[in-house]
Symmetry: C2
Subunit: 488 residues, 2 copies
């Protein structure tokens, strides 16, 4: 895009949004050069800050008319580079669309704009005894629109499910610039569930302008304990025993020794000194159920070697236990100048084996790895530590981080649990999916975005030329090749 | 399709499937002329009975090569005509794909072929203490493949969710004849959630050949009560009070006087004589929780005017209570020669008002309506009674049935809760969705099925000519028309 092109598009956007809502100054643009994944930095050609759905649609229309890519961004806290700008594109920032439009406790719904902060939804619902269940560690700053784009998880998703389970309706701007509604307030709408496909599509199918979320009744009782173990093997065995006993905790989180050390250094959360691993187990629900099951959980932790078990006596003690966990990523900055936050999933049953393999690789390559994870659903967050000032360390860390994903895949897992593919994991997609699987996904992308202007370069390793669709995709059909034998 | 064309395609299918797996005899074909919605009857040109995924894919390929439509059918129990054959097409029946391939209690998953009967999954999982949660009333005969196509619900979906919440992976034959996998065993897969879009797509995006379902741990305790009320107003108020108290029952079902009369006549379930409405409330979960909440439920029923309350003392008594409810549709045949099963959803809070409106219309038009429904989630099943032998009654019943859907829409509800759009409700889709909304859904259909061969004429009122896509769909963009004002 030439400088003239940028000026023309900038003028078109200013005509629609007003001067204050369009940024073209190079220094100001730099503020937006990355999201939470700071390894990648790209300065966008322009930033647009729409205040309404109509303005957002007009912004997309202006991009389409100019043939310029656009990338949506909420609070910019994503960890896979999903909101990384395009150097020749417009970054559409939804942070000025922050109205909570309705809280409807009787219908167990809230209607919010995409820039609304995750935690603010729960705060608005609290007076009625409700909350918004998905709780990423970044919930104090991340936006609902970004949560929708990434299908964000959180510690309590073990019991309550991911963002996709808590969004019942969306208003979105399609890559054509049309405003459409997907889903609604009802639990199940006739026709295709495009809502489900849109949630987690990382900005490649359009931009969310309104979100109807399910509100969850806040539990009568919440009880939380912190248990210290000799190592992750013991803590993992305790986790399996708790699940096998039929308990569905609201959350089971594990941190290994290095992660505990980091959290302690950063926020003084009072975790057991010298523990090889800690487990946070939280139960919620009716008091009768919680009390009965909590006794079981304590017993199972002890039976699997827990030393110190601390039960939160009140909300303040519970908050302190969670503070260590929720600040763990940032806390690692206290013990290492640089680090990579990895995100992978494995079947829960593979937990001990996978942790041993990670420890082996860490030892072999002499790269420290701190493990923080949602143990209950096998969602690992290994933190790979390095010092960028030491030549070669960054590359080594990248290798170890990639090797960890390979281990996840080899154990029947997935390359991302809740942080998304974004820019970061594009190269890993072919390790999870066949060409046919990826082609089938891209059918949807081509249908929504035949020009390929919505967040290009993210999610899919090889952008399909949409003209290739439809029709047979290779010369010979796989069933013919296989002589009608099973192809899987 | 000429007779010669049919013979040619029949020969091609026999070459792939074997003689016994292809039906072309007119008398035999008649067996397949309708599904559970017997108002519509169409004899297919051919029936194919594949035994494997590869055979199913080859069947679709043969149809594509011949340019012939194909319609998938499981057990044929659907109530919206989704499996109604195409007169010039092939009906692909999956009833011979009935293997349960794996039950994996540790992973809480089972892998089954599409023809497997819903209840058989629960039976296979029972020895491990698990079951498959979605339980349509037809669960003894309906197939998992059909459940996937229709996103089937059931009485226990109030607590446990619909089919879409219990399917984590699919193998499907696309309308191109490709075998692809959507999702997997992990709770969240990277890339688009095509799985969610496929579930409930009513055979218009392809045919399911393998289903990975989530298994649900069977609850420690189940308690069920039957309460008789003076009328639906009182039973509705009790329902609202139970939900407002924070109880999430496994099921809350309501039947009005006419439905009770029918059930009693058919299966002698011993419902309270003369009750204006009955409520079935079932709680499940840990015994401590269930016992505490059950006392609350009993009290709330009494406070809202329940006369007789019967608590099931054992499994046999529970089964008898459910027998009345689950056989209610068929039972209506005892009190009326013909009837229409309607299916609509309303916000639970609109229940009393909507029931009053239905009663008014029933009285005005002199058409009897029996109400059976999932009260907890506002999913109504009005049964509109008529006698086809009396001229004009069928038309009147159709009018009343349609008017009931209008009432649902007017109260913020939906035209189908769990039976699907199929053939039956195609005409109602424009009353729920704008042209833009329907166009956006059809983008997906065109992407998967540009030739329009997969179950044509179902779900969408006006099939889009797929060549129209992509690009601006009308001459003037709605935002331009609206002068950039809010378009909603």
């Amino acid at each position: 895009m030439t400088t003239t092109d940028i000026s023309t598009l900038g003028a078109a956007l200013r005509a629609v949004l007003g001067d204050a809502q369009v940024i073209s100054d190079r220094q100001e643009l730099r503020t937006y050069e990355c999201d939470g994944l700071a390894q990648y930095r790209v300065i966008p050609a322009l930033v647009a800050l729409p205040r309404t759905a109509a303005e957002c649609a007009a912004t997309v229309r202006a991009c389409v008319d100019a043939g310029v890519p656009f990338v949506a961004r909420g609070s910019g806290t994503g960890l896979s580079g999903g909101a990384l700008p395009h150097a020749e594109g417009v970054l559409v920032v939804t942070s000025q669309m922050r109205a909570i439009r309705a809280v409807l406790p009787q219908d167990e719904r809230a209607v919010v704009e995409p820039g609304v902060i995750n935690l603010h939804v729960s705060r608005a619902a609290a007076p009625y005894g409700y909350h918004y269940a998905p709780d990423p560690s970044s919930q104090q700053v991340c936006s609902i629109g970004g949560n929708v784009a990434e299908n964000s998880g959180g510690a309590h998703c073990l019991k309550y499910g991911f963002t996709t389970n808590h969004v019942t309706g969306l208003e979105v701007v399609t890559p054509d610039g049309d405003l459409v509604r997907l889903g609604g307030a009802a639990p199940d709408a006739p026709g295709y569930d495009l809502l489900g496909a849109f949630v987690g599509s990382e900005g490649t199918l359009g931009i969310t302008t309104e979100v109807t979320v399910r509100l969850t009744r806040s539990p009568e009782s919440v009880r939380t304990l912190l248990a210290g173990f000799a190592g992750t093997d013991q803590a993992g065995a305790a986790t399996s025993a708790i699940i096998a006993a039929g308990v569905v905790p609201a959350a089971i989180e594990m941190m290994d020794a290095l992660a505990v050390e980091a959290a302690e250094a950063a926020v003084r959360c009072g975790y057991p000194a010298g523990a090889g691993a800690v487990l946070i187990v939280e139960l919620d629900g009716p008091a009768a159920e919680v009390d009965a099951q909590f006794t079981d959980v304590e017993r199972l932790c002890r039976e699997h070697g827990a030393g110190e078990i601390r039960v939160a006596a009140d909300d303040a003690e519970r908050a302190l236990i969670w503070k260590g966990r929720k600040s763990a990523f940032a806390a690692v900055g206290r013990i290492s100048p640089d680090y990579i936050v990895q995100d992978g999933v494995i079947p829960r049953t593979a937990l001990p084996e996978v942790l041993r393999r990670i420890a082996e690789i860490s030892a072999q390559r002499r790269v420290r790895v701190a493990n923080v994870f949602h143990a209950g659903d096998g969602n690992l967050h290994p933190l790979v530590l390095f010092d960028d000032a030491v030549p070669g360390q960054a590359e080594q860390a990248e290798e170890v981080s990639g090797a960890i994903l390979d281990i996840c895949i080899a154990h029947g897992g997935s390359i991302t649990g809740e942080h998304g593919v974004g820019m970061d994991k594009v190269g890993h997609m072919p390790r999870m999916y066949s060409d046919d699987d990826l082609d089938t996904m891209q059918l949807l992308r081509c249908a929504f975005d035949p020009r390929g202007l919505a967040n290009p370069g993210k999610v899919f390793p090889t952008p399909r030329l949409c003209g290739e669709v439809p029709g047979r995709r290779r010369g010979v059909h796989p069933l013919q090749e296989a002589g009608l034998a099973e192809v899987f």
